[in-house]
Subunit: 792 residues, 2 copies
């Protein structure tokens, strides 16, 4: 499928102006890597002008500069609303150089003015202590993407384009990055992009041939095979290749125009003529040398066009006069005087291609999504609340009821189109299918008669790639919209590294005044560890909580609502919140209703509290024991244990404390939601035994609470990797989290109870043995467990 | 590139025999999902014959059965040595059915005999408490792959094929699984497969059209686009498509023969004729209905060929007579009497295609790699040790010296070819490049003059996909070989979920007597959090240690060697070990040598110990303070702090304890390497303050040590997410892990020191302030830090 011949021919003047812009950007990139003084080379280069530690990535920078230059041209020529995701984000010098050239940098950081003094600061601050990071980062104007951990550029780009019909999202994909799994999966995002309601994504695969030390796979495929791959990904590739700048400029301009003409035609066909097929969207394959225009050879070894150009091609500039001379020649090769005037200001020719105002890539408001964010309309929870006259009698599936709420949110954003739900083929499995009444599932690939709920304009996004789901949602949120990711709890570990980077991004933006808060990244983790009894050990893992709690406390929140109404309350809270990563763990299986809506709201607002109705305190002294719980299944086991204690040890005073907001257990100095020691002691007592049933790995509770006075008598039960395919109750028995074990723990922990309660303890032991025999015989749980209700 | 027309034509008898085997396997799959009695339907089906909880995945099972049947045929006909990786591992019933049919199941589990009684057990045990998991699992004969968390089948298959020139590794890839990032990346593994020394991988993409609730992307591409994609991946696809069994059998047989003929031809060309180009390996695209041969409709809704066939198509069999009747019709549709004799034994026609002995897929020793494993030849460490006359004076790059050792191991396995190093383009960056003297990097794609160290027969594997690296290595280890994964510390989180599954696999195999121990999965994490000062915040993350320490303690080991010789000792240990996941965190930057080789060996054998030479104890009483350390940078800071204390507070008695083996800090009841309380107290004292400098998140140390008597006075410093691009020493200052802060901690912690040591504390404060000013001015660390050496 050959593409139409490019018809764009730039005039000599246009060509030279683009080249001047590109040379200026290249000069500024080299300057950032090397110079801490003498930015305009107004005097001969001396060792002391050069930074003592040379950091940064030159190799990809000239390619990024080329793309930026040509995006400038088409944005200006066509009046485009466009942003760019820079996959090779280690090419920070390039993106910073362009922002400085177009003026967005100096507007954002007035100290770094667009003149010689500012240029000096721009150079010096780069990768310098107290300065700016070496990669594209939250500090970089126009960026929604840190390219340090490669792989997420294309899914970020698609996320940004969703529901932004007027937006073009260019996306530079490095050929190294293209080898990663997340990137490889995300090519198929074009099967989910709606030409009517979404903007366009223009992938630019930059084949510069090498990674750190190896050739890249894609650059070494025969041309035909690469084209087959890209067409198989659903694209129509347009090639630009070469190392002669003016030829490449001419070809790149033609390629850009060809791509944008086609995009415009596809969008018009879909929007004006009602075309419905999936377009074969264009993309550009840009093949230029790594470290292009840099030193061809250093110390007798080839550098330009090889992996040796990846970081800093000349490494001994301060000590090796030959290197110093070569650096000066390299810098001067850009013909500085043509690019900047005596005051260091870019000359008019250099800026000829630069668009104005918000259309500059470093100033487009989509890249600072908080400025575009509108509050999500959340309906009154009372419309969805389940009635609870008496705790522990009725059952509901929490996520199913949440689905009703989300249906409303989806419906109420039908015109605004700023809310999406993503998930790896699990929306219905996680029982949120009510949302399909308000929006189908986005789908642009083929359909069959038998299919259900697919919709080319849908806002529920399902692909069996947690990476792609995460990338889409991040891109969507970073550009000022709202969303939720529903996922099996065990498999959200697939995006551990991605959430790391997003949390780091959010944490960094907290200290950047011009970055406005964006909507939180909300995880609904369901099909959780205790109810993957049918899928077995591979599906049982509650460790994502531990993972995120290692990260910045000002960003991370973890909620474990114990029933349906508390889930509604938590959902409302997280959907309204900003700049957090919220992890909500909730069940999809029938779960006892413990709290009515008002109580649920109050309990969630406190984050942790005593359930007086469940305990047997007399109100005069401290209880003999505190039963703590966090999570739906642990809460049920604790209440069943409390009931057993009430029946079998009626004189024991028991307090039940439920924790919804896990960070409440931390000291207040360690987390904004942390409790003071006094508040903690008021819940858990400073000196009475606490038996705590926790949803995940038990040591996490110790890690949170180790500084508390009562920690020595805190005894935690949780998941300890004893998983398999079995019954739901056997899962808790295998991990010693069951009601009978908890009663035994109480007996073992409360001083003076051992002898008097020995028969009760034996009864518990016997019941556990009976359980084991029963499930092997019947394959179901003991009737007394299956039929249990609260009788407090 | 059309493939040659298939010439295979099966006779009617052959066809019917294959179909009988397939029907038998389908019957056994359905039986496992539904029946707990009446396995041969010798009486009419009644509700009580049906399991009370219906678990399992029917949808993929008939497709897996088809593949297994046809693999049987070609293995027998061609005398192949073959294994199969079952990507859709949730189709456990299919793989179990085939193992039972071929007899390998009964040989492995004699209770489950190949007769009616055994069939009854086979059915009952499936997904039943105390029985076998619903997915392909370690318990499954012939398996090296748990398909619960999808995405890893193809990289596992390539790992198994490496250095097994006589082996064919078939790999069924589900079309859902194909959407995942890890799978999408792993297609390019064929650029690394050596036709001379490696076996062949035959991918079988099973397009059954649906996931849990959605169509799959690949099944809904136009045929031409899918073919472009697969050819772009480097394959030559052969299509088998249909829903008429006998036609599909005929086509599948032809496709298998075509594929195997081509594989044989490619291998012969490379091995006999010296052909060097990368072959375009064949693959099979198998398009059959999901839930094929199951109920076409249930309750008026289409099931066969739709997502509704994914799990259990008839869900109310015990309560809905229509469902019960439909199940019985379904089961009888396989014509039971033709398949099994009265005693429940498979009839000869059914077994006609089944190969013998070890050639059966459920008995091939490659799938129980421990039986093939040979000890790795590890040279005498003294040949590589660095001389240490006096601690803390000389510097070496630990990983560079390790590279020398690995070069020797690589050279000594040149003929055996059972050792590989994998990494995401970082072997040289991590300074292990000495290994290239013994083996180049595997590479079958195009090469250029300028390339270095690429070798079509190399055993160092580099691709910029941590997922693929991990998958390759797992597959290699599971089939009885050795290896190491070298990775940037922060980015190993990319494989968090994969290592989860591998640890679960190893843990489960510990309880399976016939599974023999395999070589450990060894991570070398370098370019670690403290020395990613140049790449910045995105590259700084020590949380992988926390992640793995949540997992089974019998499998997980974490080592933090503080210098070069300890790294050598740890490397020897982990390379010799079996059935572990070993995480070794070590530096690549110049690091002080603290211990000579003998001391290093002794120290590593203990795992934690007092460095008497570094302390100032008088030997009669407990020290005033213990300085603990784990990790190379924390160790350096602790020793610098010890020196400062010696100089400024000479009467304070200080003990320095270094921890190499992190699990030593755990109680011995919690981890096989855990210390007794007495041993812990002997190191850290029961009651003196401990200031502990740790490589990673500080709370991990609390999580490990919270039960110790002295925990109340344990004060831990570590990484707390204060990262950026800065100098190395500023990284420790920003995280309060620096020597000056540690001295202040000692002063704050040791009772009675506050007043007397106030001037020293002020000096430390002042030095920290001086540090901040200096780096902002010079961009380098304070000379007194940069030039520091131990002067004990």
């Amino acid at each position: 499928m050959p593409h139409a011949p490019a018809t764009t021919r730039l005039s000599r003047d246009e060509l030279l102006a683009l080249d001047a812009h590109w040379r200026a950007a290249n000069y500024l990139a080299v300057g950032q890597i090397y110079l801490m003084a003498n930015p305009l080379l107004t005097e001969a280069l001396r060792p002391e002008h050069v930074k003592p530690r040379l950091l940064g990535h030159w190799g990809t920078s000239p390619g990024l500069n080329l793309v930026h230059t040509h995006l400038n041209r088409v944005i200006k020529a066509r009046g485009l609303d466009a942003i760019c995701v820079w996959g090779p984000g280690h090419g920070g010098p390039a993106v910073l150089a362009n922002s400085w050239l177009e003026g967005s940098y100096s507007e954002t950081y007035p100290d770094v003015s667009r003149d010689a003094e500012g240029m000096g600061l721009l150079f010096r601050q780069f990768s310098f202590p107290g300065g700016v990071p070496s990669h594209v980062a939250p500090e970089t104007p126009g960026s929604i993407h840190e390219g340090g951990e490669l792989g997420y550029s294309l899914s970020h780009a698609y996320g940004a384009a969703l529901d932004n019909p007027g937006l073009l999202v260019a996306c530079v994909i490095g050929d190294g990055e293209a080898e990663t799994g997340p990137l490889a999966a995300s090519w198929h995002s074009n099967k989910f992009l709606d030409p009517v309601h979404d903007g366009a994504v223009l992938p630019i695969l930059h084949l510069n041939g090498y990674k750190i030390a190896n050739p890249t796979v894609l650059s070494r495929l025969p041309g035909e095979e690469l084209d087959e791959l890209l067409r198989g990904y659903g694209h129509d590739p347009i090639h630009v290749s070469g190392d002669d700048p003016l030829t490449v400029h001419q070809d790149m301009a033609a390629a850009m125009d060809t791509a944008l003409d086609r995009i415009a035609a596809f969008q018009e066909a879909a929007r004006e003529q009602g075309a419905t097929g999936r377009p074969r969207w264009p993309m550009i394959v840009l093949r230029t040398p790594k470290g292009w225009t840099g030193p061809a050879e250093v110390d007798g070894l080839p550098v330009e066009g090889t992996w040796r150009a990846h970081q800093v091609p000349l490494s001994e500039v301060r000590t090796n006069p030959a290197h110093l001379r070569q650096l000066e020649e390299w810098l001067r090769s850009y013909r500085i005087g043509e690019l900047f005037d005596e005051a260091g200001r870019p000359r008019p020719q250099v800026l000829a291609c630069v668009p104005d105002g918000d259309r500059r890539l470093g100033a487009n408001p989509h890249t600072n999504g908080g400025v575009l964010l509108r509050d999500l309309p959340i309906p009154d929870l009372d419309r969805f609340a389940v009635p609870v006259d008496k705790p522990g009698v009725t059952l509901h599936e929490p996520t199913r009821v949440l689905g009703d709420l989300l249906e409303r949110v989806m419906a109420d954003t039908a015109d605004r189109r700023d809310f999406r739900i993503v998930g790896p083929d699990e929306t219905a499995s996680n029982r949120l299918q009510a949302v399909f009444r308000a929006s189908g599932k986005a789908w642009q690939a083929g359909t069959l008669e038998v299919d259900e709920d697919l919709d080319p304009h849908g806002r529920v996004m399902e692909i069996l790639s947690e990476h792609t789901c995460q990338g889409w949602l991040e891109g969507y949120l970073l550009t000022g919209r709202h969303g939720m990711f529903s996922c099996y709890e065990a498999f959200v570990h697939i995006v551990d590294s991605m959430v790391n980077q997003h949390i780091k991004w959010l944490r960094t933006t907290r200290a950047i005044p011009w970055r406005r808060p964006i909507a939180s990244l909300n995880y609904l983790l369901t099909s959780h560890v205790w109810r993957q009894d049918h899928n077995g050990f591979s599906h049982q893992d509650p460790g994502f909580i531990d993972h995120v709690l290692n990260k910045a406390p000002e960003v991370v929140r973890v909620y474990l609502p114990p029933d349906t109404n508390t889930l509604l309350s938590v959902a409302e809270h997280v959907l309204k919140s900003k700049d957090y990563v919220n992890v909500v763990v909730a069940g999809k299986q029938p779960c006892f209703d413990w709290l009515d809506m008002d109580s649920a709201r109050a309990h969630c607002a406190r984050g942790a509290g005593i359930w007086e109705w469940a305990g047997t305190e007399d109100g005069r002294t401290e209880p003999d024991v505190v039963l703590g719980c966090a999570g739906d299944v642990p809460t049920q086991e604790v209440l069943a244990a409390a009931q057993l204690l009430r029946r079998h040890l009626p004189r024991l005073t028991v307090r039940v404390v439920n924790v919804v907001d896990l960070a409440r257990l931390l000291p207040k100095e360690e987390h904004p939601h942390g409790m003071s020691d006094a508040d903690y002691d008021a819940l858990f007592t400073p000196d009475q035994p606490v038996v705590f049933a926790y949803h995940g790995y038990p040591w996490l509770i110790h890690r949170l609470a180790y500084r508390r006075t009562g920690h020595r008598d805190l005894h935690v039960r949780g998941y300890k990797e004893n998983g398999t395919t079995t019954t739901p109750f056997d899962m808790v028995v295998r991990n010693d989290l069951d009601r009978y074990r908890l009663v035994m723990d109480v007996i073992d922990r409360v001083p003076g109870l051992a002898v008097a309660a020995a028969p009760v303890r034996q009864l518990m032991e016997d019941t556990r043995l009976r359980h084991h025999a029963w499930i092997r015989e019947h394959g179901t749980d003991l009737p007394e467990v299956a039929d249990w209700t609260w009788e407090g």
